[in-house]
């Protein structure tokens, strides 16, 4: 069963996806569904002996191009609609025991091109209003398959967080004539304390009002609404700064650092978004080497985040682990 149910109190959709309860949960060695299928071996999702980067539709999707019949009738108070969309899995490498951070910059650059291609394709569907590229990494954020991979959800609406960001960006542009992220970058460069890494095309920083101790954002140095606006050179620079920040994350506590990575592209609803700028956000759950930040009462109940650290200090920590990129 899978459908969208309206939450009248929040004015947001929730998707039910009961079949996901049966999804693969930490399969034993040799039975990873994301590994290549070895000759005569366990048939995985990828029926090839090897691959470079592979994308396939999620076996346990929250959204489907041809969604199932609604399990319940809606009402005026509780609208219900089909969960029409696309859910894709992006497998970064055939290497099971690895991570995006451990991939060479050249492989991350390949992934950027794949992400760009997926955004372009999914953006063209009439029923898709937002293409959401993300990665959940590590058991600490609920990952059930350790093989390096990310996901793409193509939603039939603009999700609330993106709608809120777009509203803020539009109002700022109307008020000042300047794009909000361009304004933020200008101020961050003047201050300098929260900048972690930068190259010709991108800047990585811990945001002024970070919600998580090691929250990190990547902003384009020039206006770009989405991945498809970037040239090869810019995608290469994006890969380079990814490699730098992911390596710095792993070096912080000498562990394979867990995080949620989300890409913020312009919505796909056909409206004008020249006030919006592409950006990437990392939300790592670690607050120290041994402690996790949980979304507890204030965060989950009030939507009010409490950060136990100073972004300026955390940026300095991350900056100390930034290294030159080897191609």
């Amino acid at each position: 069963m899978s459908e969208l149910r309206w939450n009248p109190l929040l004015g947001e959709w929730t998707v039910t996806a009961t079949h996901r309860q049966d999804r693969t949960f930490f399969p034993p060695p040799g039975y990873c569904p994301l590994c290549p299928t070895e000759l005569g071996g366990f048939p995985t999702e990828v029926p090839e002996p090897t691959y470079d980067i592979v994308v396939f539709e999620n076996k346990f999707p929250s959204f489907q191009p041809n969604p199932p019949t609604l399990a319940i009738e809606g009402s005026e108070l509780y609208p219900v609609r089909p969960a029409q969309g696309v859910c894709e899995v992006v497998v970064y490498t055939p290497e099971h025991n690895s991570s995006l951070a451990q991939q060479p910059a050249s492989q991350i650059y390949k992934l950027m091109q794949v992400w760009q291609d997926r955004f372009n394709d999914l953006n063209n569907h009439d029923f898709v209003k937002y293409v959401f590229i993300f990665e959940n990494k590590g058991e600490a954020v609920g990952v059930t398959l350790p093989h390096p991979h990310g996901q793409i959800y193509a939603y039939p609406f603009v999700p609330p967080r993106l709608a809120q960001k777009a509203k803020q960006c539009r109002e700022h542009k109307e008020k000042t004539g300047v794009n909000l992220i361009a304004n933020i970058l200008e101020d961050e460069r003047k201050d300098g304390r929260r900048i972690v890494a930068e190259n010709e095309s991108f800047t990585a920083l811990v945001p002024f009002s970070a919600r998580y101790p090691y929250e990190l954002h990547i902003y384009p140095n020039a206006h770009a609404e989405g991945l498809t606006d970037f040239s090869s050179k810019q995608l290469r620079d994006l890969a380079a700064i990814f490699k730098q920040v992911l390596t710095a994350f792993d070096k912080l506590f000498t562990i394979s650092f867990p995080y949620i990575m989300v890409m913020n592209n312009r919505p796909s609803d056909g409206a004008n978004y020249d006030f919006f700028d592409f950006h990437v956000e990392f939300y790592p759950p670690m607050r120290t080497a041994m402690k996790l930040k949980f979304l507890a009462g204030s965060e989950a109940g009030a939507g009010m985040f409490i950060n136990d650290t100073l972004p300026e200090e955390k940026a300095a920590e991350l900056r100390s682990h930034i290294e030159a990129v080897i191609w």
């Binding site: 470079d52 592979v54 396939f56 910059a105 999914l122 569907h125």
Partner: protein, 186 residues
Amino acid sequence: MFASLPPLALDTPSLRRAIKKLGEKGDIMDASDDLTAHPRDLITNPTLSAKNPDNIDMTAGMTFLGQFLDHDMTLDITSSLEKQVDPEMIENFRIPSFALDSLYGSGPKGSPHIYDQTVEERQTTLLIEPNPSSEKQMENEEKQPENKVGEMHKRREPMADGRRYIIYYTFGDEKIESQKEVSENV
């Protein structure tokens, strides 16, 4: 990682002589730096460390030996207030023994980034590469044409269940014909 490992050899005069020999001038740990030069110059002048291209900003062994002694052989963070606690029972508790973590980290599981992922599922072999700033690194980079990313091609196929699709992305010279997708098919 090796807390319960017995010693390789007992402390004997011959073992001590063998270990001292490792550090002798001209032996395997000697980078042949010009030791007649001022110690400051050994750090600031790369030409005095000609056989040490990976670490031209420091003379051979200078920092490593100090860190090795401090971090692995002698560091004991067990305070007197905690002496009643068995350190073997507490994760990440340091004990004053030669734990070898300066070399192996926390092992393949705890420090996977320092193990070579291409060998035996990254369980046995340390990942070794030259210092990014060294000449050797630059030479190696020039020898690695595989890092040059070629043109992207994609091949789209139905999956075994007949209801989903899979797309293989390949790069470089591989002879897979690019197939532009018809997005309506998704």
